[in-house]
């Protein structure tokens, strides 16, 4: 097992810069590699764009980008969700610049070509100039493939892409478990924090299943919470029940609180004391079992699920990454609520989210600092590899191919880079 290969790395062909146990530093800063990633990954596979709860009504939309391409995610009059290129078919102007809202359609500000919610070109002014030249029916806003699983809306530019459920594969049961934190209510997106860091998108991708960093980077956050919670959330460091696992197709899992993997399974342990006041308030309108179910779900599930390449279902929130350039990335942390659930409990969820997440949270700024230090440091020694070999000595492989190692191991990163390499190898 042990050799000295991890001292060097091939910096030649793009896909060879990710080896099973190490990657080349230029993976974080090479602009040519970044362009190839957009083409071969972000414009090829399923990319998460929104949650259905963000579009409850006909006409509701939100805008985002996939790679550099602006898109609109919109619910039409019939209730169907479309993902449309945000680009007029005439001269290319964006037809919507709002982050989110409700619309009857989209009108280009340049020459007033107007489109229906499903992308159909409804009208263009002074159409006589197009008679015999082109047909309105041929010029809708370009639509992407759309797939929805458990309310998670994914889109792809690739017409030949495999079905979403096949792509999610081994991650699906974990998505199902994640959604149980609604405690009997549907999950609803309830606001988001967005921030940018000066670093490559894969540094964030690695981080979601990197539990090794947690007690180090987030020490100041842990000192701001009660000892009971801090102990529970870092028990994975020494627990044999916590683990990191590859799930195929680049997806991976890190279980840090095994008791909260399946929220339907109540081990009967006392509820955390800091939620005593909330539990007392809920008791007036909810059965003891419901109170336990709601309170046990406040911190989310006991795992982080990383879905290659841009979404994580991370304990109590969605983490979405958007690559801006080889050296800059935007992160969204979407807060979640119980749709129709008790307000007081949803407010506690908001406060928990604010405490850690976002550009002014007690956790995210320290993550961003560490990631920016990785980005800056990686420019030293272009042939000195970045190591992703932790836990290779104790990784086991199940019959279905899933690999499992200790919670602090880098099995999840290795799975992401395995998928990265497979996609980058395709011309």
């Amino acid at each position: 097992m042990s050799d000295t290969l991890y001292q060097t790395i091939d910096t030649g062909a793009l896909h060879r810069r990710a080896q099973p146990d190490r990657i080349a530093p230029s993976m974080y800063y090479d602009p040519a590699l970044f362009e190839a990633e957009l083409e071969r990954i972000f414009y090829k596979t399923w990319i998460w764009v929104a949650h259905e709860s963000e579009l409850p009504n006909p006409g509701d939309f939100r805008t985002t980008t996939i790679g550099r391409q602006p898109v609109i995610v919109v619910r039409d009059k019939s209730g169907a969700v479309h993902v449309l290129q945000n680009r007029c078919r005439h001269r290319g102007a964006t037809v919507c610049e709002e982050h989110k809202g409700n619309a009857k359609g989209f009108t280009c500000p340049y020459h007033s070509w107007s489109y229906a919610l499903d992308g159909t070109l409804r009208a263009l002014p002074y159409g006589d100039g197009y008679e015999g030249v082109c047909e309105k029916n041929d010029l809708p806003l370009k639509a992407l493939r759309v797939g929805i699983y458990q309310g998670l809306i994914f889109a792809s530019f690739n017409e030949d892409i495999e079905p979403l459920e096949d792509f999610l594969g081994g991650a699906k049961p974990w998505i199902d478990l994640f959604m149980k934190q609604g405690a009997g209510y549907p999950i609803k997106a309830n606001g988001e924090h967005k921030f940018r860091f000066k670093g490559n998108w894969k540094i964030q991708l690695e981080n979601t299943t990197d539990l090794y960093h947690f007690p180090v980077v987030h020490k100041s956050w842990m000192k701001s919470i009660d000892d009971e919670t801090a102990a529970a959330i870092t028990s994975f460091m020494t627990s044999d029940d916590a683990f990191c696992r590859s799930l195929g197709n680049g997806h991976s899992l890190a279980v840090l609180v095994p008791e909260l993997v399946d929220l339907d399974h109540d081990d009967g342990a006392p509820l955390p004391e800091r939620f005593n006041d909330l539990a007392a308030k809920l008791a007036g309108r909810h059965s003891p079992a419901e109170v336990r179910r709601i309170v046990r779900s406040l911190m989310g599930v006991g795992f982080n699920l990383n879905l290659f390449p841009n979404l994580a279902l991370s304990m109590a929130f969605f983490r979405v990454l958007r690559p801006l350039s080889s050296e800059e990335t935007e992160i969204r942390h979407v807060a979640l609520a119980m749709d129709g659930g008790p307000d007081e409990a949803n407010r506690v969820r908001l406060r928990i989210h604010e405490h850690f997440q976002g550009p002014f949270g007690f956790g995210s700024p320290d993550d961003a600092e560490a990631w920016e230090r990785v980005q800056r440091g990686s420019h030293a020694g272009p042939d000195v590899p970045i190591l992703v070999n932790r836990g290779l000595n104790r990784e086991t492989t199940a019959a279905n191919g899933e690999k499992t190692a200790h919670a602090t191991d880098e099995t999840g990163m290795r799975e992401a880079y395995r998928q990265w390499r497979a996609m980058m190898e395709q011309a």
Binding site: K194, K219, W221, R347, E354, P359, F362, A368, A370
Partner: protein, 166 residues
């Protein structure tokens, strides 16, 4: 209609409030966070909202919504040496101006203003521009902050993570 006596009181409390806000700004630029904590009424809230229109902060996701306990924890975190982002935070210079007196009732004034912070870190400067609202109580003789709301003009955009207080 305001009589002369009320007008004089109003001018005095306005001037005291502005002086208070400038003193706070200077403390924050010097990162004198322990002293900053003492400016607060224990019931006060320090708020950095995301939604530009919201006034129901408790029901919304904010960047910060700090009661006394959270303010103390925030300061503890930033001065503990355990936070890499706070230990290596940007240096800041802030200008607060464009003051208006929004309300003035029974020893409590609300002042609105504009704040521009220039933050410098690792060869880069970043601007944080915001509309501020300070609610200041003079009831106990010493002015105390009852509420401070910082509405960043780009609050719905992706911001840079920061290791200092707005």
């Amino acid at each position: 209609m305001m009589d002369d006596r009320n007008a004089l009181f109003s001018q005095q409390s306005f001037a005291r409030a502005v002086e208070f806000i400038w003193r706070e700004a200077e403390m924050l630029d010097r990162r004198d966070y322990r002293a900053w904590l003492d400016l607060w009424d224990p019931t006060g809230f320090y708020v950095v909202p995301i939604d530009p229109a919201t006034t129901d902060y408790a029901a919304s996701l904010n960047y910060a919504y700090d009661d006394q306990d959270m303010r103390e924890k925030r300061v503890q975190r930033m001065t503990s040496g355990y936070s890499a982002s706070a230990s290596d935070a940007a240096r800041t210079v802030r200008t607060v101006s464009r003051f208006t007196l929004e309300s003035n009732a029974s020893d409590v004034v609300e002042i609105k203003s504009a704040q521009v912070i220039v933050a410098y870190k690792r060869s880069a400067t970043t601007i944080f521009a915001a509309d501020l609202s300070h609610t200041i109580s003079f009831a106990g003789g010493t002015p105390r902050l009852v509420e401070k709301v910082i509405r960043l003009i780009d609050s719905t955009e992706a911001l840079s993570a920061i290791g200092f207080l707005l």
